[in-house]
Amino acid sequence: MDTSIQTTDAPPPPPQPSPVEQKRAARGATRPGDRIFLGLSRGSGILLLVIMAAIAAFLTYRASIAIGKDDANFLTTFEWNTGLVPPEFGIAVLAFGTIVSSVIAMVIAVPVAVAIALFLTHYAPRRLAGPIAYVIDLLAAVPSIVYGLWGAMILVPHLNGLNGWLDEYLGWTGIFSWDGLAPRSMLTVGILLAIMILPIITNVSREVFRQVPRMHEEAALALGATRWEVIRMAVLPFGRSGVISASMLGLGRALGETMAVATVLSPSFTIQTSLLDPGGGTFAQNIASKFGEADELGRDALIASGLVLFVITLLVNGAARAIIARRKEYSGANA
């Protein structure tokens, strides 16, 4: 704040004195305009902090009410019966489902996204790459409910074949066995989430790959490297941390995605050993599905599960931030 006064107090010597000079002097050193403006903008910043604090505080408060009434262990129980006397509910199934579906999504989306990003920066004909990147940019803006509707109506019936095939050849693992029910399963959810986070991971990775200094690629080329070897020697090492943080961004989305999971998954409060059989649930999906018929305790219980989701996403985003920060230091030391 004092910087503003310092800078404005040191204008160059004005060439012509009178009227301008007078006006400046009349306004004085305090300058109410500056103070009001600073107050407003700083106030907005503080308001943001207050909102964040309030989110944490109120969620914790309501969650503590619910957990206090919970007759079972909140972390390890496989049930969600808030209507029972005494109520018994826990997040074990939800935590499992959230993590499993997100892991499936990441396993599919990250390699494909990196490949598409490489396609756009190093393989596609230039005339094609620009428009495609633009379209992918737009696809990142498609609302999740539309993905959900598409997933439920189009993707689910199309996965029957894949499920049958997995069951036939990999069914013996137990993870890929299938009892023939409509594939409203964790695998389907994972695939849909992968499709949803594909555009965002692709976009960020593409940006990173585009920033690879041309001279590093030329160094590899001049040594007689093929295109793939250039990518392995110069592009991927340079872009690695960027890709990781892009993936974390995608992971954050997948963890918190509500509607797409709610429309596709056929939920239950059991942990399915097979990824192909319907059942299970995620934090966000459970909140959306259970909310309609929940009484006050039911809502508090859902808020408690939301708090857990909140903490998980905070951790993931924190990790992404830490990686980005390290990358900045790293490239700074390089310059």
């Binding site: 590093h216 160094a219 040594l223 007689g224 020697m233 110069a234």
Partner: protein, 258 residues
């Protein structure tokens, strides 16, 4: 090892823009040939056509012939990747791979071309670093990142990386323009030693440098901005700097333009 380069009727484009036109010259093996000329005259572009790096630039294409000991680099069936393995290049700004150690930087080209035993790699890396006059400075920190070296050391590291694969020709694109005078001197000394083993072509903005290091000098010029660059003359360095046969060369060298 060192090979002769014979260029005839070479024209290079960026998209529809003609960057250099109809260049023919011969570069002798085991000698240093310097390219001089004003900015934008296409000497770097021409250099990059000699190892097929020009076509890496979007829109870049080439017409004409570049014979490397009777084999046309632009002939049918020639693999540009193999060309670049045999015609090494050092760039204007030192560009060691930032994520690799000093050792890995030098070994990078070797690892592409086949499997080597650890001891073989050690030998070649040591020999290359010695060849680049860098061994004594880095032998105790081969596993440290190459980006931690000074600019001049980085450039010598890049030279070591280029000579590790034993190319036939070594192209240098203004290798000293980003370096201080002492590092420049070190590189110039090194060029003098390397010409015993390699055919060296060097682009430079610095006429004293051309006079100091090269055996032959080629002068490039362009008629006007937007016009393609052309080879004005190529001759023994001594002659170019004392008694050139073209007036424009003399004007450029004596500092009347450029």
């Amino acid at each position: 090892m060192a090979k002769r380069i014979d260029v005839s009727g070479l024209t290079a484009y960026y998209g529809s823009h003609k960057a250099i036109e109809d260049i023919s010259m011969t570069v002798e093996p085991r000698s240093v040939t310097a390219f001089i000329g004003p900015s934008g005259c296409g000497k770097s572009t021409f250099l990059r056509t000699l190892n097929r790096m020009h076509e890496v630039t979007p829109g870049g294409r080439v017409e004409g012939k570049v014979l490397l000991d009777d084999e046309d680099l632009y002939g049918a069936g020639i693999d540009p990747v193999s060309v670049r393995r045999e015609v090494g290049m050092v760039f204007q700004r030192p560009n060691p791979f930032p994520t690799m150690s000093i050792f890995d930087n030098v070994a990078a080209g070797l690892r592409l071309n086949g499997k080597y035993k650890k001891s073989e790699l050690n030998d070649i890396v040591e020999k290359s670093l010695k060849g680049a006059n860098l061994w004594n400075e880095v032998k105790d920190r081969l596993n440290k990142p190459g980006s931690g070296l000074s600019g001049g050391q980085q450039q010598r590291l890049c030279i070591a990386r280029a000579i590790a694969v034993e190319p036939d020709v070594l192209l240098m694109d203004e290798p000293c323009s980003a370096l201080d005078p002492i590092s420049t001197l070190a590189i110039e000394d090194l060029i003098g030693e390397l010409k015993e083993r390699f055919t060296i072509v060097i682009v430079t903005h610095n006429m004293q440098q051309a006079a100091r290091v090269s055996d032959r000098t080629a002068f490039f010029n362009l008629a006007a901005v937007g016009q393609p660059g052309r080879l004005i003359e190529i001759d023994d360095t001594e002659r170019i700097f004392s008694n050139p046969s073209v007036q424009a060369t003399e004007d450029y060298i004596s500092g009347r333009f450029g």
